[in-house]
Subunit: 220 residues, 2 copies
Amino acid sequence: MTESEGKSTPLRVGVVLFPGFQALDVFGPLDCINVLSWSHNVTMALLSSTLEPVTTKPPAFANAMGQSVVPTHTFATAPSLDLLLVPGGLGTRGSSPAIEEAISYIKNVYPQLKYLVTVCTGSGLAARAGILDGKCATTNKMAWAEITALAVNVDWVPRARWVVDGNIWTSSGVSAGIDVILAWIEKVYGSEVARKISNSIEYTRHEDPSHDPFAGLHGL
Amino acid sequence: MTESEGKSTPLRVGVVLFPGFQALDVFGPLDCINVLSWSHNVTMALLSSTLEPVTTKPPAFANAMGQSVVPTHTFATAPSLDLLLVPGGLGTRGSSPAIEEAISYIKNVYPQLKYLVTVCTGSGLAARAGILDGKCATTNKMAWAEITALAVNVDWVPRARWVVDGNIWTSSGVSAGIDVILAWIEKVYGSEVARKISNSIEYTRHEDPSHDPFAGLHGL
């Protein structure tokens, strides 16, 4: 998809939601795509196992705060997509029906996607779906040992803000989702579109994918 | 409120929502406060004119994408708060009932707050509520002329990531909300708590409130 195509052909974006997703993993990238939609043709589907609002509150943290977001489709009724965004968060852990359905959906839909973008421990869901096997990928550095143990056949890159392998873009923790989506927008829509969006949200991008001051904090 | 108080006495946070709020204005700061709530006592109220889900889609942009967030209270049923967060976005413009109710709420509740934090053009709502008169404040630099014209008795600071005047913290555009809330957390809970949160979300803070590469882009 080129920029000129993007103004007429819609970019069809989907987002995987589950209880305990990390708010900024979703709304960093989506804010950029929302701004993109002011000038380009974009459709968006917020996907979950049911149509009930999905909370960011981690299931295991009784006293934690969360906000609830309304899905537009279930995994079963999801429309065709070009780009699927998979966030992370404490809710990626375990084997609840919501998480197992998310992993099944990622596994089944991946062959039809043009692009998959994961943020933070969202790469753990992609890893459990088996689609990172044989590929380079990264994840949150604080959760490094836990996430990388989920899939031993992935070439996990310890020092990276984000990693691109084929059509899979995996990013480091939480706020790295803003950098990976702006890098993706730059590739697909061009540097001028990415520059306008980052200026619009007054965000100073990390443009070097190997920039990672957080790897060292965790001995990586 | 000190850090030791914050572990027992709850921090009572409220967020003003209205159609066309900017997603990252809300979820940048709230992600930080969500993480704070994993170790500290926090309550949160998402406030709107009704209990219907509130979309980020700008009212005047027919083709724009948006996501819908579920309020927990109306302005009329809002609990007592310590901190009120006021986001910006294209939806701050105009005089819809939802915006007029938000402005009235901000005006009426301000005397009972410990802190008010605005992000981006959220300072325009605070300005219209009259509570910035005689104070220093900042706003989004792309919307500078429009927002500063709303209140001529405000000492608008053109080059600032954020500005503190008394108990009012106003920040620049969109992503600046992450920096202002981390600066606020540092002041109230201490630098170690702020450092842990920024590391947890892998965010490299702008710690100098006068850091503003975006002012120059708009001739300020």
